[in-house]
Amino acid sequence: MLIILTSLWLLLSGHYTGLILSLGLISILLVSVLSIRMQLLDYEQPDSFRQTVYSIPYGFWLLKEIVKSNIDVSLRILNPALPIKPQLYNLKTSQRAELARVSHANSITLTPGTISIDVDDDSIEVHVLSQSGLEGLLDGEMDARITRVEDRSYG
C-alpha cells in the first residue's frame, strides 16, 4: 500500500523539491496510520486484482444505465406537469460481502431517480422518484451483475 500511495503522490504532484516530497511523506504516513487504526487493511479482502478486472464491464454497464436514467429524469423535470410518483421500497439484495453491498447501494444512488436510504444485511431501503425507476430496480439486473462480480472475485 505504501508503494501505491508513493507512486500516486509522485504521479500527481510532479514537483520533486525537498519540501513537497517531505509533505508527501507526511501525508502517506498519516493515511497509513489512519487506515491501520480504522482496520481497513486485511479486511475481508478478496483478490483485489481480479475484483478490479471483473468490475470494468460492470462499470460500462452502469455508465449506460446512468445515461438512460439521466435522460428519463431530465425529461420528467422539463415536463411542465412534473410527472413524479415518489415511493419507498425495500429492495432485496443477494450480496454477501460488505464491499459488494456498499457497491450496490452506491450504484443505486449514483443512478438518478433512485436513492438508497438504509442498508441492512439482506435488503436496501430505496427512495424512487417514479414508477419506471422502480421497475428498473425490480428486474434485478444490477443485483445479479454485482453478485456475479463478487462471486468471480472470491472464486
Binding site: 446512468i66 445515461v67 439521466n70 422539463l78 412534473l82 413524479i84 436513492i115 427512495h127 422518484l129
Partner: protein, 104 residues
C-alpha cells in the same frame, strides 16, 4: 480550432452544462427534500461525467488526462455516499418523504 476532437470536446462540455442546468431546475421544481436529491444527482453523475470527458478530450493524452480520470472516479464514488448520508440522516431525523403522486 477545426480539429474534430476539439469540436467533440466542446459539444461534451456544452451538453454537460445543459445537464447541470436541468439538474438545477429540478432542484427548484421538486416538491420535497428527497425528490430534490434525485435532481441533484443528475448534476453529480451526468454533469460531471460529460464535463470531465470533454476536458479529457481537450487536454489530449497526457498526465492531465490521468488526473482528470482520477478526479472523475473519486467524484463518482464519493457523491453517492454523500447523497446516501443526507437521505439517511433526513429519514432518521423523522423527515417524512412525500409519497404517491400528490403535487404541492
Amino acid at each position: 480550432m477545426n480539429d474534430p476532437v476539439y469540436l467533440i470536446a466542446c459539444c461534451l462540455l456544452i451538453l454537460g452544462a445543459v445537464f447541470v442546468l436541468i439538474g438545477l431546475l429540478g432542484v427548484f421544481r421538486m416538491p420535497d427534500f428527497f425528490t430534490r436529491l434525485h435532481a441533484a444527482s443528475i448534476i453529480d453523475s451526468m454533469g460531471t461525467l460529460l464535463i470531465m470527458l470533454g476536458l479529457m478530450l481537450m487536454s489530449g493524452i497526457n498526465l492531465i488526462t490521468v488526473k482528470l480520470f482520477l478526479i472523475l472516479l473519486f467524484i463518482l464514488i464519493t457523491t453517492p455516499t454523500a447523497a446516501h448520508a443526507l437521505a439517511k440522516s433526513a429519514l432518521h431525523g423523522k423527515l417524512k418523504p412525500k409519497l404517491g403522486d400528490d403535487k404541492s
